[in-house]
Structures are given as C-alpha cells and as structure tokens.
C-alpha cells in the first residue's frame, strides 16, 4: 500500500474542503499526474477550475512540492510517489 497525504493551500484548500488535508491509500504506485487526475475526479469542477489549465494539466502558477521539494527538480508530473509522501499544492495568493 502507498499512503499519501495531500495538503492543499488557499483556493485549492477551499476546493477540497477538510481544512485542506486529505490522506489516500493506493494499492499500487502512482505518479503526481495520476494523483491530480484522482483529485480532479473526486473534487470535480471547483478543483479543476483552480488547478487545471485548458489542456487539463496543472497550471504553471501552481507549485507542487513533495516533502518540501519542488517537483520541477524531481521528475515533474511523472514523479512517482512513495509511501509516506506529503504532496503540497500551492497556488499563488495576492491579498494584502
């Protein structure tokens, strides 16, 4: 089993509810891309609006970190998630 914790911030937290923290257990390996697809199915339109661009991929402005490391410096969306990983979805915010 692969246990993953997703922590969502700001507008993505609102789309997900649960104070932005949810856990998943997968029977097999998943990539970041798989995880986004699963979240998209589960949370629907609200999530898609905040996270996905016109091509159905995460918007460039959203930072995705695994255990505090930017996936840009791992394998991007193809990064394979390991048991115990914490995935953070961080959109930019602008309030003052």
């Amino acid at each position: 089993m692969v246990k993953i914790v997703v922590k969502a911030f700001a507008t993505i937290r609102e789309a997900i509810g649960e104070f932005g923290k949810i856990s998943f257990e997968f029977p097999e390996q998943v990539t970041v891309k798989n995880l986004i697809e699963i979240l998209s199915k589960r949370f629907g339109e609200k999530f898609n609006l905040e996270v996905l661009d016109d091509n159905g991929l995460p918007k460039k402005t959203i930072k995705i970190f695994i255990n505090g490391r930017d996936i840009e410096f791992l394998d991007g969306l193809h990064t394979v998630l390991k048991d115990g990983d914490e995935v953070a979805l961080i959109p930019p915010i602008a309030g003052g």
């Binding site: 700001a10 104070f19 309030g95």
Partner: protein
Amino acid sequence: MNVLSIREMERYDRQIKISELGVEGQIKLKNSRILVVGVGGLGGVAATYLAMAGVGFIRIVDNGILELNNLNRQIPYSEKDIGRLKVEAVAERLKSLNSEIVIEPISEKITSRNIDGLLRDVDLVVDGLDNFETRLIVNDKCIKFRIPFIHGAVYSFEGRLMTIIPGRSPCLRCLIPTAPPEHDTIPVIGPIPGVIGCLEALEALKIITDLGKPFTDKILIFDGLNLEFTSIPIVRSPKCPACSKLTD
C-alpha cells in the same frame, strides 16, 4: 546623525537593551529609509511597527480611500477615517505614535512610470500590496536597483512571507513568472495580515540593523486554520526575467 537624544534613549529603551541591537543598532534605524507599498492589512501593521521602532524615514504609498470593509483587518484606522485618503490617515496615526521620525505619504497608484521615483533613496521596500501585477512591478525594480524587498501576501486564513535580497536570493518572479488572473476582492481574516505584517516589519528591522538571518531562499506559508508554519525552499530560476542575469 550619529547620536540619540535623551528622549530617543528613553523611547527606545527596551529595544536598545537588546544586547545585539544597542545604541548602534538604534542609530542605524534612525538613519534608515523604508518604502511601504500599500497600507492595508499588511502595510498598515508593518508601517506601525517600523514607526514605533524608530525607522527615521518611512514613505507610504497607496491610492486607496478608507472603506468600512477595511476595518476588519487594517489596524491604523478608525471609523472616523472612512472616506479619507488612506495614506493621510496612516501618516497622521504614525506621527501621533512617533513625532521624531519623518513620514512621507504619497497617494498614487504604483505603475511602471512612477515606481523609479518612489524607490529613490530608500534602503528597503515592504510589500503591503493586494495584487500580483503591482507586486511584480515593484519586484523587478527592486532587483534592478538592488533594494531588498520583503514580500508578504494573505488569503483567507493563510499568509506568505519571503525576503528578497537582489542578486543573492530568489525573487518573486522566480516563483511567479507572470501575473495570474487577479481577484476583485480577496477574503481575509484580520489576524493573518497581523501576523505576516509583523514578520515583514521584523525582517526589515533585522536587515537594517544587520542582525540575524534574513528569510531568503524559501517561502513561509502560515496556515492559520491548522496553525502551522511551513517553510518551503525556493531556488533562483535560471530563466527568471527579472533576476537571472544579476550576480552578487
């Protein structure tokens, strides 16, 4: 100005007693010049602490007029200020807190045309803005003129903080290359800009007095709902249009 008056020694007594700061640090504050861009939730708090700490010159820029819906979070104002220019009301408040410093209120919208003038002769900039576009204008010019920029932002129960030392640490554009779509009104609960505005003022005071370690190369996320502070490492983007060509 290399001395403090008797009155200044008394006013700043509790911070002068901090062994690392002392009279020397206080004189650095007295001789420092800070620009606070935007005086809402973040900028209002930060400017208040900077004034109380004895920053000798504070330029505040905001083109807003105080509205009733500002008063859930914007500390320097009262109900009687509704309808007034925000910079005027803040300047009055800060002068009433500390008559020994200079406050320069400027009621202008920050654009790429007036930003150079607003940055003139300042040592540091504190971010109190409420949109991406203006933040990026300020970020880019701070990089160009090598002025430290303390970035803060809030949304709902969440706050962010990042200190930018041009040429040395990642800038806002390394993180957000182009401005995402803006929101008309941004939901926020008062204590969040309170916390982040305080941290911005603290960063500014540390940099001016050359004490401690500036909060660079990472972004702080303050999650008020779970009361968690997370700090996430950020690296300089080799493709950053603002800072990639700048060296230390």
